[in-house]
Amino acid sequence: MTISLEAIRRCFEGAVPAQIATCAPDGTPNVAYLSQVHYVDDRHVALSFQFFSKTRENVLANPYAMAQVIDPLSGVHYRLSLQYLQTETEGPLFQYMKARLAGVASHTGMSEVFVLRGADVYRVLDIQCAAPATVIEDRMPASLLPALRACSSRLVRCTELAALLDETLAGLAGHFGVAHAMLLMFDAASRHLYTVASLGYPESGVGSEIALGAGVIGVAAREQTPIRIGFMTSDYSYSRALRQRSGGTDGGEREIPFPGLSAPHSQMAVPITGGGRLLGVLYVESEQSMCFTYEHEDAFVALAAQLGFAMQLLEQSADRNDAVAEAPRAKVTSGEAVTVRRYAADNSVFVEGDYLIKGVAGAILWKLLSDHAQGRSEFTNRELRLDASLRLPDISDNLEARLILLHRRLQERCPYFRIEKTGRGRFRLAVDCPVRLEAVS
């Protein structure tokens, strides 16, 4: 193979339709246009199977095909000699292609007819350039390795999860020019992802949730595959379904609005995993089409791998050095009491009638406030982890992430109390006024 598949990845961005030639057993050639040629790895591509077509009939009888792909900048044509291997109808590759196809379909006004039935996987036997050698320019995309390196060095210096999250977003903005990004953590019990940090939105959206399987973020998480879409598609938009889902007995919302762009033209969600488990998702988006390239995907997948590793380490080390602090009595405060109401059904907590948080973070806040009423204000991660009333999952309880979520929600929405870090694995609940606790079963 004289040209590597990797070197021409730009041709697979979906910006220019490709063509595929096949042959019937009787020797009649067939040529058709293709919505999507998907780069699988340096030896394989996958073609979108949308309709039962002559192309499909031919490759099932005679597995050889030739695809022609076009460089979206230079217009140079490349011909890929292919051999059909198999069709995938589920799993990461299928889901990735389905999401991308939705973007391409929407871009070309073909949403109604573009439904992915399968991902046809082909082995690439040879690649030829149609242009004379002198015309092929060496226009490799600018390397993102320096940006990745700079970002990476910021992360290795972090000793706490909160800093790790903030440095990741600062690195994306500073070194990759990303304007809108989010970090979400996975809650295995509820099968939801919750936002713990964000970049570039009017409201941080910390605490907003996305169900596993919903939109680009949910599908990337469920399939544990990165998903990158270069065109706007309503199929994967969060703006409709996920904004302001209501339903509460306190007369208020129990959902925190998702902060994302209402009409992103480029989206990329990269799962963060550790030890084979899903930990969260790194999500970036843009108002511009085709903002993120294969090189961004490579860089962010590498970054997410480092994030996953660091998250696990920091979670474990947060329990260390947590010798029980000498517990000073909580300060006695005076003034008007604020009412904190907790609904046991979903652990949702309302402060003065306003929704604050629910789930594990809600249960933690309720426990802290209850203990505080008994005169305690100093706490350790370890005791929370051992507290049966919180029902934290054994492994991967993401306690640190939940405390960050709670800390940030309090900071944004509640002027009456706050969480102050007092050391590794230790913190204080500071309360500025008397609190009236009301438990609703």
Binding site: P17, Q19, I20, A21, T22, C23, P25, G27, T28, P29, N30, V31, A32, Y33, S35, Q50, F51, S53, K54, N62, Y64, A65, M66, A67, Q68, I70, D71, P72, L73, S74, G75, V76, H77, R79, S81, T108, M110, V113, F114, Q128, A130, A131, P132, V135
Partner: protein, 157 residues
């Protein structure tokens, strides 16, 4: 073979791709740089670059089996024409004019979609060494994306 509307559709504003096959029955593909429909609408003259579409031309010389897909990018309207090569000729004076007119129309189409000049130039490169491939049409298929794609529209049975 072709109706008047199809004949008018094919030659302007469209992207043209040609397929052929070798002795092993492996397919090859290349771009066509224009085509002309004969007065009887039963023949096509397809213009191919001798260097850029070399694998296709080699197969066409060998066995003559050819397929041509023609699509208009702004509408996705697509036809596929199949046939057999009658002869391969050097360009005549009228052919060059036809290629230039086609080229102008397709560049306008690409420009309206936001593609730049450099891209269009790259896509349509190869006029300088083109040849004229005369094809006797056998069948025509509607290949506009959708459930009707692949429907045979006209042709011998």
């Amino acid at each position: 073979m072709l109706n008047a509307a199809h004949a008018a559709f094919i030659g302007r504003y469209t992207s043209m791709s040609v397929a052929a096959r070798d002795a092993r029955n492996h397919p090859v593909v290349g771009r066509a740089l224009g085509c002309r429909v004969s007065e009887s609408r039963s023949r096509l003259t397809v213009f191919l670059s001798a260097s850029r579409a070399a694998p296709v031309l080699a197969c066409l010389k060998e066995n003559g089996a050819i397929a041509l897909a023609v699509t208009r990018p702004t509408t996705n309207e697509t036809l596929q024409l199949k046939g057999a090569v009658v002869e391969i000729l050097p360009l005549a004076a009228a052919d060059a004019a036809e290629m230039a007119a086609y080229r102008e129309s397709f560049v306008a189409e690409l420009t309206s979609l936001g593609y730049g000049r450099e891209f269009s130039k790259g896509v349509l490169a190869g006029n300088e060494d083109s040849v004229a491939v005369v094809v006797e049409l056998v069948s025509v298929f509607d290949q506009t994306p959708g459930p009707r794609a692949g429907t045979r529209m006209e042709g011998r049975t």
